[in-house]
Symmetry: C2
Subunit: 433 residues, 2 copies
Amino acid sequence: MIRAAELIQRKRDGHELAAEEITELMLAYGRDEVPDYQLAAFCMAVYFRGLSSAETFALTDAFVRGGETINLSEALGRRVVDKHSTGGVGDKTSIAVGPLVAACGVPFGKMSGRGLGHTGGTLDKLEAIPGFRVELTTDEFVAQVRDVGLAIVGQTADLVPADKKLYALRDVTATVDNVSLIAASIMSKKIAAGANAIVLDVKVGDGAFMKTLEDAQVLGEAMLALGRRAGREVVCLLTDMNQPLGRAVGNALELREALATLRGEGPPDFAGLAFDAAVHLLVLSDLGVDAAEARRLVDRVVADGSAVEAYERWIRAQGGDPDEAALPTADVVREVPAPRGGYVAELKALPVGLAALHLGAGRRTKEDAIDPSVGVVCRKKRGDAVDEGESLAEVHARDDASADQAADELLAAYTIADEPPRRRPIVLDTLAA
Amino acid sequence: MIRAAELIQRKRDGHELAAEEITELMLAYGRDEVPDYQLAAFCMAVYFRGLSSAETFALTDAFVRGGETINLSEALGRRVVDKHSTGGVGDKTSIAVGPLVAACGVPFGKMSGRGLGHTGGTLDKLEAIPGFRVELTTDEFVAQVRDVGLAIVGQTADLVPADKKLYALRDVTATVDNVSLIAASIMSKKIAAGANAIVLDVKVGDGAFMKTLEDAQVLGEAMLALGRRAGREVVCLLTDMNQPLGRAVGNALELREALATLRGEGPPDFAGLAFDAAVHLLVLSDLGVDAAEARRLVDRVVADGSAVEAYERWIRAQGGDPDEAALPTADVVREVPAPRGGYVAELKALPVGLAALHLGAGRRTKEDAIDPSVGVVCRKKRGDAVDEGESLAEVHARDDASADQAADELLAAYTIADEPPRRRPIVLDTLAA
């Protein structure tokens, strides 16, 4: 029998626990042998005292060992890649990156959670496609990665169940904000889901969980270390979330933007990030290409239409209609005119995300229903010139009242100045093992 | 609906909560509307961030308001006194103090909890008396204080139920050791139980919860402040627990020592403390006496036998047999001879307490049964001269094997030196509002 109270006390007093102690605690918690209240106190002690890298790995490992693990590379006889983002406003990167790497011949298999956020998570965005099924069994998932080269599905209940249980607890006990706990939660899912190589995208800025580059670096390094210890190849991109990613924020709107990007018509920041992530994954894959060759491959699958074809094959494999015209559209589309001319000095991510949330694009509680048609398209972004009265953004709404409110919120998110702001790259830093 | 997660987060981040927020949180917890896991995280955040005095009072007040409150002074038409100790090895003070003040004509009413400790709490000690009932209803308690002038009973389930619930939670989540939480827990019970004037005895030393005088002072000041805010008169004694209090450790043995003290034959340290506490209570009572008069009164009730008579009336009122001969005795009594001559330089309290616990005098878990007959009598205490082979202590045991073990443990608790140690008073400091 594990003496949970003693482990809590030692963590509270700043001691490092043995790996076996962390493992035993988490396995017992997963089996409901240690109650939520002891884990809540433990997580708060961790919030104040932190976890060493050995403790963090033990936690990650316990999450993985407590549930199903998928060995994609054994099933396929080759290396499989995956991608994860910490989430931000307008982040539809996986929906573009998956088809890009699949079109280059590299299998991509991703299990995704559902987000509580301004817009839905990747799964919610994909569900804007009529007929699309996100709930595949593990066997269906593996078979689709093998046969179609690409699958993005909901995380099965058997994958890292203790992480799922602990995350729900942390969410209601103010113990989410700890780098070690975040890193273990993310990496356990990635490790259990079976990909050999993973590109992580840690968002930094007002619309992201990590507000500063330093915090994002600490999280990125922690995740790299966990991946390395678990025998995975990992690259971590730290990317800007001080404005929305791309132009579209809202589920069907973001899918259209991802599709445009696969045709080579995406907004420069989003396309740049999606192509970069794809290049990293190709370099980590079993293609045996360097970054320059990988870049040429990605450019080619965009130019010759095979990226769009890979998208269509994938969507059809999961039961969806890949035709862009099948995506839902909002009843009301409202322009937001610029109150003055100049340059967009700032376009804050968080208020844009909140405007989309208020339109119905996201969920505040687990029970909220998402409206896939609504959202925002930011026609002007940071650094863009704008004339007085020109459209800054487009609101897609269910009705006039919500459109009015969103237009006001968007206007407040923009700052227009006489001079253009300093340029800021989308990828702020790249960490690799 | 209370947003507990938000309150936890604000406490975690070092902010002071509004009194109403603490009140609302604790009342909701008492009504089972906030789950244990949120309070566990909250208490751990409090462990690291502390509570302001306003927050601590709000917590105390919420504990009191969440349950029954007894207005002893209204029921009696006069002031009632009470006493509380934070607990230590050989602490039978209340059993002597109650009869001392009652014999002087001051009503004494105490509700006590059961301890998990080396020996039982006050209730367990009293239950060594054949027939003694600790479970009185509130009405019986009030009537006995009025009619007999003295009652010491178990805390009713309706008194500070949220404190009871929270204490059980803190006990298994490593969140006991926080001065504000301890002070609120103790003072809420004292305030709800209705006495107007309270003497607190905070033990300091290896056998106590507070290891240093500084820590004890902080706790004492916190409790004084809470009493003052609740309109009670409080004096706090900080007393030595670097050796057992008195000579006897074990339930029936301690009762005999308390009785001897009421006859004026108690060990000097214990008698000194009991008389001091009684004097403070008389001064705080409605007798209108100063300390010198109170001291004369206490000396008189000891000398003329009325203290013993008050004890006997009290024990009979609660169904017990006050005859000392009725107390249980152990089968095996073993002397512990001194391995050398000299002076007792040290007699550690904790190992003496553990020896008594191992003999069966205390309980390790709530389910353990206590043997009232067993324990230890320390014939020699700090500063006493001893000859080689002379008895240091007496073990009262169920059998030879446990007597042997206890004798070894006791021997290890003693340090004998050539020179006598520096004298140390029993009362180290006295705090008053």
